[in-house]
Amino acid sequence: MKTETPPAEPQEIEPPRPRSRSIAVEALLIPLLALFSALVVGGIVMIFTDPEVARAWASVGRNPGNAISMSWDLVSSAYGALFEGAFGNPTALSETLLASTPLILAGLSVALAFRAGLFNIGAEGQIIGGMLTSSWVAFTLDLPLVIHLPIALIAGFLGGAFWGSIAGFLKARTGAHEVITTIMLNFIALNLLTFFLKTPIYQRPGRTDPLSKEVAESARLPSFGDYRVNWGIVLALLTAFVVWYLLFRTTIGFRFRAVGANPKAAAYAGMSVAGTYILAMALAGGLSGLAGTANLLGVVYSMSPGFLGYGFDAIALALLGRTHPLGVVLAALLFGALRAGALQMQGTAGVGTDIIVVIQALIIMFVAAPALVREIYRIRARSAIETDAITKSWAS
């Protein structure tokens, strides 16, 4: 094996060169190149899955110009429509923000836990936990909006926090790996949801299928004018700021990050690693709970069985956003835009919305393999410690 990584040794020999690119540029460069690469590959997939264009390529020898122009037309119209549908007009923008709201919150959940050294696969279960409590508050109580809505949101946070803290507690007390426990807790939550939706507490009167009661008007997140986007997006952005402040400006965040980066050194310095795990999982669960609640009180107003899927996207978002709250917001806006634009793309260019899933997966793949992006675009690697930190410790 050839290892060309410089050993720790030579570091004394020469002071490291001044960094040619700032950290911020570097942090953005890879995701942007990953997005670009994903769009290129996504375009190729479109070309070869469209029957007509694929046929044109089959006979490319006879008419190469035709194949190329057909491909170009397809891809450019698809991406044009995608952009139009995501940002083209106020309604499109509203849809993008609406789709981004739960993604931001769930992404923050995974990112926060990750900063404390925990890999939270359980956002989906915590979303359900949050919805179970917030929906009960939202359809049972009868209060004015200024009281009812905040209480419902807090209930959602607490429900998620409770569900998340179970995994934290198990890890702190028994060492059970949070990846395993959170996955299992997802399924427990899913089945609890199905169960509760059949009980008179939750089930909508007069229905036999598992559909919950509708949340009260006074507990709904108000929309902005005629657009569907609601105060949930403001809540999500505020939460992102709070999470950033917590992580980088408070002693709690300092402890989270110290335990996350090196639990042994944190323990030697007198920090309680077990306590940190429980608190971090509780807060992460709370954020996921808020994600489910924002969707419930802002968009769907009732619960039905099944995963929403935000919790799984959240893992990708935390990775894409480099576990930084701002990065998560940007990543969630991107995914929201892709979701919002997909419908227009299907309508105008006839390209199925499934291609969005492919593009999302490709983005993640390129981000998770920074070495690949570097290789393609010939970017020189800098300190291995910084660039690989996320992808490597991800596996631990």
């Binding site: 290892t3 040794e9 030579p10 020999i13 020189r380």
Partner: protein
Amino acid sequence: MKIELKGITKRFPGVIANKDVDLIVNGGEVHALLGENGAGKSTLMNVLYGLYEPTEGEVLVNGEPVTFKSPGDAIDSAIGMVHQHFMLVPVFTVTENVMLGVEPTQNFGLLDKRKARARLVELSERFGLKVDPDAMVEDLPVGVEQRVEILKALYRKADCLILDEPTAVLTPAEIDDLFEVIETLKAAGVSIIFISHKLKEVMAVADRITVLRRGEVVGSTTPNETNEQQLAEMMVGRSVQLTVDVEQAQPGEKILEVTDLEVLDDRMHRTVKGVSFEVRSGEILAIAGVQGNGQTELIEGITGMRAVETGTVTLDGKDVTGSSSKRLFEMGMAHVPEDRQEDGLVTSFPIKDNLILNTYQNAPYSKGIVMNRDAIDAGADKLVKEYDVRTPSIEVNAAALSGGNQQKVIVAREFSHSNNLLIASQPTRGLDVGSIQYIHGQIVAKRNEGAAVIIVSSELDEILALGDRIAVMYDGKIIGVLDRSEATRERCGMLMAGLSGEGVVRQSATETSAVAEDERPPPPASSAEEETTS
């Protein structure tokens, strides 16, 4: 076999690890490569061993230019390397380890273990490398494991052996054995490159000494033409004082008392078997011993990092057995952990955050839960100056610092509070001469201020330089305590090998046969400093 390195330059992005290095090793010569950590010794040897390709320059074997693309090529040219950390499979026998990768086969590709064993026995007799070919490697003491590594290289017909810091994990007696082996190999015409930063050993074993500093050769000499002082100056680049001035200790009242302490290691084996001692204010108790004899677990037990089975720890008259490290810190204990990168630092954090790792919740660094960034910066600036941490800025990540400066960050964090008890494990392991001097000075200063100090070290020089009293640990017990006046290199060395003062019973001799597996000391913790190739 003659090896020549001509004008070797190795660049890593942003760093020149070796600059125009020339090195000639003649057949049957022991050539010592001397230099501090970070001087570029390992890089140079990795170039020779085919792990790195040189940026410039060439390698000649017996006058022929060669290009090594991988260690396999180097082995084909009869070059062997014994790494600092052994590359052995613990659950394989000695023979299996030696033949691994070059297994002789019979018909149908079946392993011919007998043939390998015969060759191994022949080699081990020829070179005086005594080893049981059928022993499990995990049951062997470190010194014997090293012999297996050497045999592995010889089995591959090595004519040139690179020994990377071979004495780091050995007892003084084992070091003597190794030197005998080196003599035998030399007589058989094998050339040996002996990498070290220890002056005494280099003077004892080498025919030629080449000193590297900052990636460049600063000089080449022979033991007859030089002395330790001169070599140290070549290594460091300025004049150095090799010993610390330590004035007579003025022990005061009892600070720490440890009684009948027993501690289990991670594998639930009893590695501390009833240890008792006390430390008074104003004195340094140095705990000597070969790595893996329970020192690590003893310190972890005292400092609250590991559960104590039985026994008590009393600090300032209060029973603190099993107290959290946080409580002990609040009671005035400072702790410099054994493994600075694993336990002492969050290497991905900037220096300033590492400096408040145990005080981040206290004023002035935070108020409520909100941290005061100005106070943190100001405090860090002050400590970095006071403790001479060489860094362009307090924002630099700890990982980017040299070992010496990393250790200074920890020392700054731990020593900057008023302490009554100071515990430092391997405080200077892998550090350069300058940093060692500095850290020793700080430790003695703490003692003179009246702190009770415990130093754990596997370096006899360090033990003898600092210890007012020296306790030697062997097999989980303190088998002897010597005063500074009666402690000599030889007496300590005997105790470290398990021979008590009167020089009779080797404690393990009777025990190992019965409970070999249980009692074998765990492999030494990897020293984080060097050796990043794997």
